[in-house]
Amino acid sequence: MATSQNNTGIWVIAERTPTGAFTDTTLETLSAAKALKAQNQEPITAVLFAAPGQDIQSLEAQLGQCGADQVLSVQHQSLQHYEVSLYTQALTQLIEARQPNIVLAGASSISRDYFPRVAAKLQTGMAADCVGLEINPEGQLEATRPTFGENLLAKVVIPRRPQMATLRGKAFPKAEPNPAQSAAVETIAPDLNTDSVKTKLVELCETGNGGGKKLEEAEIVVSGGRGLKGPEHYHLVEGLAQALGGAVGSTRAVVDAGWRPHSEQIGQTGKTVSPQLYVALGISGQIQHVVGITSSKLIVAINKDPDAPIFELADVGIVGDVFQIVPLLTKTIKEQNLTVSV
């Protein structure tokens, strides 16, 4: 079945936040699916995992408004929360039964866990963390994804079916709802083996970051580096982040030095951000940090070393003393009531 070329349809696996709303990457994946549909004329099916009795009608409707032609509402008591074995079983069964051509999901801590398993089980391929998708003249999905320490981009194809891919956050625009559109909803009760459940989420400690904003999803990020000289000066970063309404990030050096928690680390062994505005304070621009910020729309750097590599990447840089400039900048933004339009 894996090599069959008769598969048809573009699937989007929807994912929800703990509060029940769709994640941003789900809406972005729907818009990417719409762009593919415009090229291959295949219908879009959104797949939603839920427990029976969960109030999901408005979510199903939202998927239709955001471009899905059909919604498969997969309901099972054990699907209320994510679990690797159950999601793997549920999606694998569904793909085997319906044979879609393309299966997409946002790249997230959930899809990174189970999507490769589904692909392995179906003996097909998967392109991870895609930043571009298109249908080539042969009708294949061509996926563009970062590789080689984020230095290179690669174009890949998957000869087998379905063609699976995860989409990097913010690489695609969010689908805008059209109230006039709706999708046919089909409810499915999968047969899942719950004996295979071997993992359990025992605790979730939400990281308070710049007023609760998630670093990866933040539209504005202010980060500090070793140029701040010590954790006692990090209030400069926090103050500017607050004035701009953004999240706080850090370099690896700062985290390794114990000034800041790991959850704030941006870069190669940390998080990847793609905000509208990234402000780097006292950051030299080591490649291991830079790889986490290259998708930022506009980068501002303040550093006293005119030869710091960060200035090669920054759209605008101030060569100067962060201890003098940042307080002034924060004060000016507050006094003039300036807001960032994102």
Partner: protein, 263 residues
């Protein structure tokens, strides 16, 4: 406790240089133990140290030069290491690599309790191999881990960093944990460790020894085909503002942000 670590030798992508055409300059390539794999080895050794009688077995897929990372793993404290090398393995994608590792684990350590892999390699950044091996071996996996330690002989506690914050998981062994980053750094091997690594024989296993058919591995077994790669477009250096007059610099910066319609 029998712990398997799957590791990879990669070019140090943080120091590699490119020519004008975007090709890697070969003389700038230094081969290292993949950073996430370093965390996997370190975590395995920590678990071994805390639980007497544990053994750690390292596997890597690669050419003869990849023995270097296996030696490093032994120098850090692993007990055994196996090089999975065959001409047919060349150009395997992540799924093919997972097939090779699965076959090797089934042959050498079928009675494993735990698998510790890196979340992704710097070379490929895909994060596929670990979960794909876990699926083939029918064990659960927890990815994006920043910490893993035993709760008891049957249970591992794992912390993972997600969009929601820090998640604490428990998994029943045997299980796969994919390490992304940790609060601790991989140890530098001691002189004693390096001497032990030099004494330890590192067997090589090929496709025949692992019972792998040529169409399961290498290019023939790949389900993700790379058509081409190119250098990620780099932005030109932007505007530089002289900060010797801080007030003037701030005014200029805000002016620029307004011009860009960002403020």
């Amino acid at each position: 406790m029998k712990i398997v670590v799957g590791i990879k030798q990669v070019p140090d992508t943080t120091h590699v240089k490119f020519d004008a055409n975007g090709n890697v300059q070969p003389d700038s390539v230094e081969l290292i133990l993949n950073p996430c794999c370093g965390y996997a080895v370190e975590t395995a050794i920590r678990i071994k140290e805390a639980h007497e009688g544990s053994t750690v077995i390292a596997f890597t897929v690669g050419g003869p030069q990849a023995k270097d990372v296996l030696k490093r793993a032994i120098a850090m404290g692993c007990d055994e290491a196996y090089l999975l090398n065959d001409g047919a393995f060349q150009d395997s994608d992540a799924f093919g690599t997972a097939r090779i590792l699965t076959a090797a684990i089934q042959k050498i350590a079928p009675d494993f309790d735990m698998l510790l892999f890196g979340q992704y390699t710097d070379e490929d950044l895909a994060g596929i191999t670990g979960p794909a091996v876990a699926e083939s071996l029918n064990v659960p996996n927890i990815t994006l881990a920043s910490k893993a330690e035993l709760k008891d002989a049957q249970t591992i506690l794992v912390e993972r960093q997600t969009e929601q914050g820090l998640e604490r998981y428990e998994a029943t062994l045997p299980a796969m944990v994919c390490m992304a980053n940790c609060d601790y750094e991989p140890r530098i091997p001691s002189i004693k460790g390096v001497m032990k690594a030099n004494r330890t024989e590192i067997p090589t296993l090929d496709a025949a020894a692992l019972g792998l058919a040529p169409d399961q591995v290498g290019k023939a077994g790949s389900t993700v085909i790379t058509l081409n790669t190119w250098r990620k477009p780099r932005k030109e250096g932007g505007i530089k503002i002289d900060g010797s007059d801080p007030q003037e610099a701030v005014t200029q910066l805000i002016g620029f942000l307004k011009e860009q319609k960002l403020m």
